[in-house]
Amino acid sequence: MAILETRALEKNFGGVFVARAINFEMQPGEIHCLIGPNGAGKSSFFRLILGQHQPSAGTIWFDGQEITPLKSFQRIRLGISVKFQVPGIFKALSVWQNLEIGLQYHMQGDSLSAEIRQVLDFIELTDQATERAGNLSHGQQQWLEIGMAMSVKPKLLLLDEPTAGMSPQETAKTGEMVRTLNAEGMSILAVEHDMTFVRQIAQQVTVLHFGEIFAQGTIDQIVADERVAKIYLGKTNEA
């Protein structure tokens, strides 16, 4: 059974389609990357999964259950977690508090503090625990949000451009994090522009273009696909 599935999913804003007839399927334990040109509808697809957009047509299924009618927080509670494209951290609060707010739903007291320490260690922010989150470097903010998202141990982790603005070292480190999480059973769907990173993590790749699935396959198949190179890869390779 697929961990995530969309059937004929469609969303249009006054005639402009950001998602069109998307039949997407992803298996449990998979790392799946979503690529495509700017404005292709990748973030909109996430918003549809999260319930921040209501689809114009079609259904969304998570872990064998239809979630289309559910509210955002209800979907999250089923085991979905997200790191947004624009950092979705609480900038005025401390790093510790950011993690606490995500985790306190699941545990409290000593186990909560112990878990926060573990996550801090994992995202390498132990020394910044009392720092205001807004004062972190851009890369650290991204990690903090990844930490918030993965700390609750979702079945499905959505990452929207997790390495945007990161140095190559930070990007590589993020790739390691993603693989560690996946090795322990988490399914991961990531939007990414950095093809080195995609190659490092992805088992399956889906290309979105004008809100439609343009191509799908392994990373090697996608890179070899000339149609994809024309609309997308060619451009980023030059950049």
Partner: protein
Amino acid sequence: MSDLASRSAAPSGADRAAGARRGWRPWRLLARLNGPQTLGRGPAFWGGFVIVCMLVGIYPLFSDGWTVGNTAYFFTWTFMAMGLCVIWGYAGALSFGQTAFFGLSGYAYGVLTLNIGSAYGFTFLALAIGVGMSALLALLLGYFLFYGRISGVFLGIVTLSVTLVFETFMAQTAGPEWTIGSARLNGFNGMTGMPPLTLPWFDGELVLWPDIPLYYLLMGMVIVCYLALRIFVNSRFGNVLVAIRENPDRAETLGYDIRRYQLGAFIVGSSLAGLSGVLYTAWGQYITPNSMGLYAAALPIVWVAVGGRSDLTATLIGTLAVLWVFQTLTIYGSQYALVVMGALLLVTVLFAPRGLVLGLVDLAGWASGRLRRNGPASGQEDA
């Protein structure tokens, strides 16, 4: 990160409840007094707190009953201010209509006590009923507001409309047909003659006129309310409130039904506005529709904004300070006082948007940070 996959994503409600019971420790509650959402912690702060309480406590010994009773008047307003601080400062929802609850509870107290009297401590039951009515109204109104996803300026407009409708309605109840039992609502002139809070006392009664005993009762209530709210805003619930204030979408995508939390904060804050209404009415045996008008509705916002809405202590200090300044100025003419109040708000918004008290705290922190950096122990955290 070990055994990542071993815990299912969302434990069932029963699991969580069991966890909550196991984890409950009284000292955890006390530790929340020092939590991340409130300024001030440690021996220095709490030492200062005790000293201030003692000073406020011995003040009546150096004054006369009449003056002390007038000082107690300031206390009656602080509950509405702290309540607005929770709703606006912590939960990020600006309600412009807290006076609706103030008036509702105040009138409720009047109607109940004018009909039933003050024997057997009934005034305190009337207080509880009055506050309960505000809680109920807040539940109804808040349900439509927050579950209807009304936020920002629209929330302010709707809540302001509610209080103005209340004011308009009460103002036209001058006729003799507007009575509830033996209580006449009395239109624009307002209700008078309700008994003050009255305690059964040995073989008689202690009637709490604006005098020293009432001062101590209100002082105790302010302290209890302040400490209880500190625990509240530093609790798990409070954590979610500030998360909603900072970034509602993120809070929801962490699995929180943010509407429930906003509603909870609204009920707590509005009940406190109701408490202020009852105490004000009992203090002066008097309440009028004016107390729900535009001017009255704006005042709590000024107090909270000037003090510093995102902190309870700043709000409490700011409210008492502004009330005192206002009272002092009113002696020289109330128009004059109004102008100063407006200027104060303007200065705050322009120069210390976090509030004057918080602005001073920031300034002190910045100055001491500079001192420390320029001192011998410098060299860290400068990047």
